[in-house]
Symmetry: C2
Subunit: 288 residues, 2 copies
């Protein structure tokens, strides 16, 4: 292949607008959960993915009722995980908290509980050890979640979060965990922000297949990115070829939600929330 | 394996202090290249790795002479690369500039020319296309560098730089390029900052082997990291198990420099440069 003559991208098929889901972090700075659910329903958005702290603040029962009243699909529940700890007591606390997260996900009728698995325990440099704790923690949580029928979705996080948020950093690792622990009730939440750079992505999405692909999150990678955590972009404002990643999951038969999850302290969290949701609808249509 | 019982790390063998090299970016804010070379020599540091802009400012001949006068080893020359461009003219300019970088590296007696390969061309989302341009660009540069005997060291950069600095983001990719282009005069610069998170690292370092391991860079990953580019830490201040990575390269027979490269706008670049160099010596001894 000569310079500049990489195969042209396949023509983009517009996404089904009915698959749009809003991760409630996207307007968390402006609205409480009730307002977000109402806002989504008002604008014709059919799916949401709420965060635990927002559910706690609004009330679990009230949240579940509001979701039902609006007929919203819950594309995922954010989040369980954070398994590694430096003490047995810490691991036990994580285990108990994760079981509660499974129960809450059930009450909300969520498609899956998303797992952000956690990074290094305080003071540790033992990444392999943290990864072993993650494997054991997921295995233990599966014993609780499988009989209840709540799928766990491992979300590989961008390698820049390996120390403090998640030491599962590639789809390959998530697939390895599914292989080891069994993928009955265990799968993967694929977020374009975390995986777009990965040269192994096509192979690993194919390896995951429809069975493991439990969630698909979209946003964009901004250049420059001014903050490691809170500077995600709206689809179309960055460099991620979202339709190309969507084509990979759709080729496997994925027909779930396209969930917009944007942490944006200096931009989208400062805008009027209806404008943000309307922009999500437009950008999903044009760049999703 | 039960939670928390990952295999304990092997006991650390202290590094050979004679292998310490200073990447001149580490004190670039305080000193010009002449001052850096003099400072290193004064403190008994035996290796340096200069940047092109510093060499240009101090003069190539003057830089080479000063290096020789102090008997310093040049563990690498930073940097060539930045291959992808949106136009043929842009690619030609990169090619010509990279050839000059090879010639300068020769004049300085550098161990290798480090390649930071470049990211997406302006306005592009075609990462696979950029990677193809990188492969072609390195292949073309090898035609110039091989007969001159100047090894090219591909530096995989952390995935957070995939868009704007380097679309080679794993050691696996660098190894693939060496396989494809032939590793006569082509190898890898391994920087702990870029690769510490990679679960595939042990396998890929073994795959690289002594022949391809041309450079070894050290610093640390801070938690939190406040800036994607300019917030690297001094060894010991972050979460990277540097001795564990060093053990991997030494197991392959690597016996080259341990090059300290720290971009630190708010910390180390604001300290007295002799203090920085003395700290590099101490931290290399204690945490390298």
């Amino acid at each position: 292949m000569t310079a500049g003559t990489a195969a042209p991208a396949a023509p983009r098929t517009p996404p089904d607008p009915g698959r749009l889901s809003i991760n409630t972090a996207t307007v968390r700075a402006q609205w409480d959960l009730g307002q977000i659910l109402d806002g989504c329903a008002r604008l014709g958005i059919r799916g949401v993915s709420p965060w635990r702290d927002q559910v706690r603040a609004f009330g679990l029962e009230a949240s579940a009722r509001r979701v039902r009243d609006h007929g919203l699909a819950v594309s995922g529940y954010c989040r369980g995980g954070m398994f590694p700890a430096s003490t047995e007591a810490g691991r036990r606390a994580a285990r108990d908290d994760n079981r509660r997260a499974v129960d809450e996900a059930l009450a909300l009728g969520a498609r899956c509980l998303v797992l952000v698995v956690g990074g290094l325990p305080e003071g540790s440099k033992d990444l392999a050890g943290a990864r072993a704790q993650v494997r054991d923690g997921i295995g233990e949580l599966l014993d609780h979640a499988r009989p209840l029928g709540m799928p766990l979705a491992i979300e590989p996080l961008h390698p820049m979060y390996a120390a403090d948020r998640a030491c599962v950093n590639t789809v390959a690792q998530a697939n390895d965990l599914c292989d080891e622990l069994g993928d009955d009730g265990l799968g993967i939440a694929l977020d374009v922000y975390h995986v777009w750079w990965d040269p192994d992505l096509p192979r690993q999405v194919a390896r995951a297949g429809r069975r493991r692909l439990l969630a698909f999150h979209i946003c964009d990678w901004l250049v420059p990115t001014r903050d490691l955590l809170l500077d995600r972009g709206m689809m179309g404002d960055g460099v991620i070829d979202v339709p190309a990643v969507r084509a990979l999951v759709e080729a496997e038969g994925y027909d779930g939600a396209h969930e917009v999850e944007i942490f944006s302290a200096e931009d989208w969290w400062k805008r009027p929330p209806e404008e943000v949701l309307r922009t999500c609808i437009e950008r999903h249509r044009d760049f999703g």
